[in-house]
């Protein structure tokens, strides 16, 4: 192989997938070999750093048993969901109660009005033959008045 290999061919060599011709050229050509070695060196440093980092992370004191953090997140998520649901339910039901309240609540009535109403209801219930009696109503002082 007379031509120098391309970057791609050097990458193939570093990855362990080079053709015999490229491998042969790299053995003979110091310039190309140096380029391949620089890349290999960078990869070796990276590899070593990942190994050391992983070992350091593994040796860190574990604050939780495996899966606890995941469970904690799930519980927290469940808590938030429950709180949101409670807020939604409260938001939907409270206005209905507020609207319904004035209609259901009995309006305060004065004694005189109440008596007039009772008289009217009684007179409506009275049979036609007793109409004159039914016409008897009471005035505001409670005394009987004949109309």
């Amino acid at each position: 192989m007379n031509d120098h290999p391309t970057s791609r061919q050097i990458d193939e060599f570093v990855a362990g997938a080079a053709s015999p011709a490229v491998a042969g050229h790299l053995r003979e050509c110091p310039g190309c070999r140096a380029e391949a070695e620089r890349l290999s060196h960078s990869l070796a440093i990276f590899r070593q750093s990942v190994h050391q980092w992983s070992l350091a992370q593994e040796r860190l004191p574990s604050q939780s048993y495996p899966g606890q953090s995941h469970r904690r997140i799930t519980l927290r998520r469940l808590g938030w969901t429950a709180a949101l649901a409670a807020c939604l339910i409260a938001g939907l039901t409270l206005p209905r109660h507020r609207d319904a309240a004035p209609a259901d609540r009995p309006r305060p009535v004065s004694d005189a009005e109440l008596l007039v109403r009772v008289d009217r209801e009684l007179s409506e219930l009275a049979p036609a033959s007793l109409e004159p009696v039914a016409l008897q109503t009471t005035d505001g002082n409670g005394s009987e008045v004949r109309k």
């Binding site: 440093i45 590899r47 190994h51 495996p66």
Partner: protein, 189 residues
């Protein structure tokens, strides 16, 4: 480094029989590699521990189904790759949640111990930082293939078995990742 050498030696003698007879030794031999691969892919210690735990749980449950067509490490990596893929997919769905990436600023501290001069150490550190950034920015599949090849030392065929990709696809991802890294850290190497 002693731990790495010990686990590598233990891993070399693990076969199908060990898998069914002595699962503890399988965990002892390969847990560091599975955890390391998950950690490098996800950059999240808790997630990596969960992946490692789930990986060995799955492996234990299906250990009798392992036919021995590939190495035990390749088989475990295959399980890990699938678990990591699921995690990355879930993380993408949780678009509102920012992934908490572990800091890697202190990586070069122990590396520099054997360097002859501060200048060399500085170059080494810069090279490493550029490398980490470049790897971090690789697409997920390229990063996975890259880490399996250059950190876990799997060959192209083993990576194809572990990832379920074709050999040619693995090579494409591998060479693209190398080209990207070469381009990104061009000045540093």
């Amino acid at each position: 480094m002693e731990d790495f050498a010990a686990s590598a030696m233990a891993a070399a003698v693990i076969d199908r029989r060990t898998l069914t007879a002595d699962f503890d030794s399988v965990v002892g031999a390969f847990r560091p590699a599975v955890f390391r691969f998950a950690l490098a892919c996800l950059r999240d210690r808790d997630a990596a521990e969960t992946v490692a735990q789930d990986c060995f749980l799955k492996a234990f449950n299906s250990r009798n189904a392992f036919r021995g067509d590939c190495a035990v490490k390749t088989w475990l990596m295959q399980i890990a790759v699938n678990l990591i893929r699921d995690r990355i997919r879930n993380r993408k769905l949780q678009f509102w949640r920012r992934a908490k990436l572990e800091p890697v600023d202190c990586l070069g501290q122990r590396l520099d111990a054997h360097q002859p001069s501060p200048e060399t150490a500085l170059v080494c550190r810069e090279k490493l930082a550029a490398m980490w950034t470049a790897v971090d920015r690789l697409p997920a599949k390229q990063r996975c293939v890259f880490l399996l090849r250059f950190v876990e030392d799997l060959d192209v065929l083993e990576i194809a078995e572990a990832t379920g990709m074709k050999e040619g696809t693995v090579k494409t991802h591998l060479f693209r990742s190398l080209a990207t890294i070469r381009e990104k850290i061009g000045a540093a190497i």
